[in-house]
């Protein structure tokens, strides 16, 4: 990379998700490729319609928003719904706030939540299909160890484990190239594991699941490195980002075990984003009183 620029940053983030995208294409169906194209197209169309500026199409942000949304949605969503979600992400999550640099909430998650609420049947689970998280929630009185034995992956993670590892690798690349600050992902993992440890009652029939199961299933690692890390939305200070991450991680476990959807990452991230400005104000206040 010569000099850093916003489009280069966006493209680099997109690049680090390519292994995970290829993994999904091979694990699920090649038709998913259409969905991965439809997301960015929908988002760019929304940006073109609402921002009326060619420059905002070239900054790479709408492209990345649509791409991340397409990656987050299950294959059951399909290309048309994904394109619609991409346009909604821009129309509801970004354009009304003034475009690039001003959206308070993660646009991809705004689009995801909109699709989840508008078309609940088409998007039952996160990216890894209708699977371990949904199965865990409806395991009908099995103790955790009984249920885990019936699943293919370690800790009951199933085939989603490989995908999680692909996102982990992409996140590591982002951190090594210093493309994203480490605070939000660290906070997210801390909050997720902390809440999962607290909710883990040793594996009874009402256990929320092994902490490592939470870490390696659904969209936890995807959210930790590609969603909560959106620099624009939520908190903008290092301590604020750490706290926002902890909040999102803990809420994810709460929504997984109590919420109506198998994976609550989108709502957890949106809520944590909303707390961002308050967390920043707290961080600035503490800093000033120390100085």
């Amino acid at each position: 990379m010569s000099r850093a620029s916003v489009p280069k940053l966006m493209l680099f983030v997109l690049l680090t998700t390519i292994p995970a995208a290829i993994l999904r294409l091979t694990q699920e169906s090649p038709a998913l490729g259409l969905q991965l194209l439809a997301g960015p197209m929908g988002a760019l169309a929304g940006e073109a319609l609402l921002r009326r500026s060619a420059a905002s199409l070239r900054d790479g942000s709408a492209l990345l928003t649509g791409w991340l949304l397409a990656l987050a949605l299950p294959a059951s969503a399909g290309a048309a719904l994904t394109a619609f979600g991409g346009a909604l992400a821009i129309a509801l999550g970004k354009a009304p706030f003034g475009g690039l640099g001003r959206n308070p909430f993660n646009p991809a998650m705004v689009g995801y939540a909109a699709i989840l609420v508008l078309f609940p049947l088409a998007s039952v689970d996160g990216m890894s299909g209708a699977t371990p998280l949904a199965a865990l929630a409806s395991r009908e009185g099995l103790t955790l160890s009984e249920w885990v034995k019936a699943q293919p992956g370690p800790w009951g993670t199933g085939p989603g484990l490989a995908l999680s590892l692909a996102f982990l690798a992409g996140g590591a690349a982002l951190l090594l190239r210093r493309a994203i600050p480490w605070h939000a992902p660290a906070g997210f993992l801390l909050g997720l594991l902390g809440a999962a440890v607290l909710a883990y009652d040793g594996g009874g029939s009402s256990s929320a699941g092994h902490p490592l199961f939470h870490l390696f299933s659904g969209s936890a690692l995807f959210a930790a490195f590609f969603i909560i890390t959106d620099p624009v939305s939520g908190a903008h200070t290092p301590p604020g980002r750490l706290a926002m991450g902890v909040l999102a991680g803990a809420l994810t476990v709460l929504f997984r075990s109590q919420g109506p959807f198998p994976d609550g990452v989108a709502f957890a991230v949106l809520l944590a984003n909303g707390a961002g400005p308050a967390l920043d104000a707290l961080a600035e206040g503490r800093r000033q009183s120390r100085a």
Partner: protein, 170 residues
């Protein structure tokens, strides 16, 4: 490109500032927040600007902000001095007005006392002084002697009544 709060400027700042937040505070014209974020500590080293993917003119904006704060502080000091002077002028004027009022009151009181004293000095004409009353009493007593010697009983009674009406001596 606008600031996307990527945070690339934060770890490179040798003063440990948060340039993205500082830039936002200045863009919003919030000098108090910029000050609280340590604007004064920026040494204009350009490290943040060199790492900014949006190529924002961070250093120039911070220099400008420091000058704004300087002018702002000066204006604040000047305003405080003006207020101090106004308060002093007000207090001096109040004191002056009070002194004048007290002086006028005192003069009035003295004029009244003077007038009373003069009126008192004029009064003998109507009421009669002790000396005059003594003379009257002596005259009445002499007349009573004569009346007693002459045996004019009714005159004596009249004079005795007059002497009683004149009252006792001092």
């Amino acid at each position: 490109m606008p600031c996307i709060h990527c945070g690339a400027c934060v770890p490179v700042c040798p003063k440990g500032l948060w340039p993205n937040q500082l830039y936002q505070a200045l863009a919003q014209g919030d000098l108090a927040r910029a000050e609280a974020l340590g604007l004064a500590r920026c040494g204009a080293c350009r490290a943040c600007q060199d790492h900014c993917p949006s190529a924002l003119p961070l250093t120039a904006r911070f220099r400008e902000g420091q000058q704004q704060v300087l002018r702002w502080t000066e204006a604040k000091t000047r305003a405080a001095e003006d207020a101090q002077q106004a308060a002093e002028r007000y207090e001096a004027r109040e004191a002056r007005l009070q002194a004048a009022e007290a002086e006028a009151l005192e003069a009035k009181r003295q004029r009244r006392a003077e007038a009373k004293r003069r009126a008192e000095a004029k009064r003998p004409a109507e009421g009669g002084t002790d000396a005059r009353r003594d003379a009257q009493r002596a005259a009445l007593q002499r007349a009573m002697e004569k009346a007693r010697a002459a045996g004019r009983e009714e005159d004596l009674a009249r004079l005795t009544a007059a002497l009683a009406a004149l009252g006792d001596g001092p």
